[in-house]
Symmetry: C2
């Protein structure tokens, strides 16, 4: 489950050389996977890009599968940092739910040029059972549970109707994000960002959203800015 | 643009041997692509599966790219046959729009075990410009235009509010289908079919759907049955 970090980053011990190398490999692997897909990751290609020997990469990640799983976890960690934790600073209820959705959109928008590992990975691994698929599904479900909880809190706060079906709303919101990713990335549609916002407002309105008033939404131009902690 | 076939299938000349072989290769290629993705298609693997030489396959499809494009067109042809043409038999307006959506769901449900080439292809080719991506986008846009037209007809018939934004509704409906594909195929969720129906009813209700009464929907159990022409 997504939980706030137990200690601030500043309190961490300084990483040693081995940890620094591992982090640098992971960083390159994440960039590679964002473009080529998780299945496009190879230790050979990674070693070449890092100017390392394959055995040097193997010393940090014992297998291609372990590398793929590490990339998924690193992606998840960054997703939490950019989308989840900052939204926890916003008051619970509809404001936090909106913050989560806006940050999710901002994240997907940033990824238009590289690709979301959750979305592309789901298509790559939906018929490939095994530890990589399991790790990916675990991260996706973790994020879905966090969103579902935010919806339930909005109901508890009286910002959404008491008969709101949180899982149904989650399904519909997720559909909007998938459509954004498809239209903006594959069809290169410039209208997708407008559509995803309008869709979200309609989902909220159908659940009797009462705070802030339906139809009022933050200006889209500031998405990138609001994505900063 | 999707249009009814210019002549019934029965009026076609009988295929010759070469056409039969080409059709058999295409059939195997479509099955392979549904499981492995369009990028998983190789002339070598196909030749092995068909018990043919690679040059025998090359005689029918001059290149891997031509094979991929032929597979996309064949997929589109079948999609039209199963989803689009039968819905044209249903009265225009909300009944036809519902028929299109129900058949689309039925198609995606059938594909839970193999995968939709439109959806997986969009993720595979969103950052690979070229003729394969273009062919795929053309087919997807063709289908989207057909749906958008069905929405506009429902407005003209007075079944949806006159201020309905057809492209917005299309975006939201497409999102529901993508969420169904994701949840049913990747997360193996058994609730996805209920969610997609509930979402569709909410989209229609928001557009003031007046025919048939909102909340009334065909029983889901008959999906497969109603998918037959």
């Amino acid at each position: 489950m997504l939980t706030p970090p137990s200690r601030p980053p500043g309190a961490r011990a300084l990483p040693n050389k081995g940890q620094q190398t591992r982090a640098a490999i992971l960083d390159a692997a994440l960039a590679l996977a964002s473009h080529m897909g998780l299945e496009g990751l190879s230790i050979g290609a990674l070693a070449e890009q890092m100017g390392m020997s394959k055995s040097g990469v193997f010393a940090h990640f014992g297998s291609r599968e372990e590398l793929q799983i590490s990339v998924i976890r690193e992606y998840h960690r960054r997703f939490e940092q950019e989308v989840f934790y900052p939204a926890l600073e916003v008051p619970r209820g509809l404001p936090r739910l909106r913050a989560l959705f806006e940050r999710w959109i901002a994240r997907v928008s940033v990824e238009i040029d590289s690709g979301c590992i959750y979305i592309s990975g789901a298509v790559e691994f939906d018929d490939r059972p095994g530890p990589v698929r399991d790790a990916l599904a675990e991260m996706v479900l973790d994020w879905q549970r966090a969103l579902e909880r935010a919806i339930r809190l909005a109901v508890e706060e009286g910002h959404l109707a008491t008969d709101t079906d949180a899982q149904q709303m989650l399904f519909e919101i997720h559909g909007l994000i998938l459509a954004l990713h498809h239209d903006a990335r594959f069809l290169r549609s410039e209208r997708a960002l407008d559509r995803v916002h309008a869709g979200f407002e309609r989902v909220l309105a159908a659940a009797g959203a009462s705070f802030p008033a339906a139809g009022v939404r933050p200006p889209r131009r500031s998405l990138r800015a609001t994505a900063q902690p």
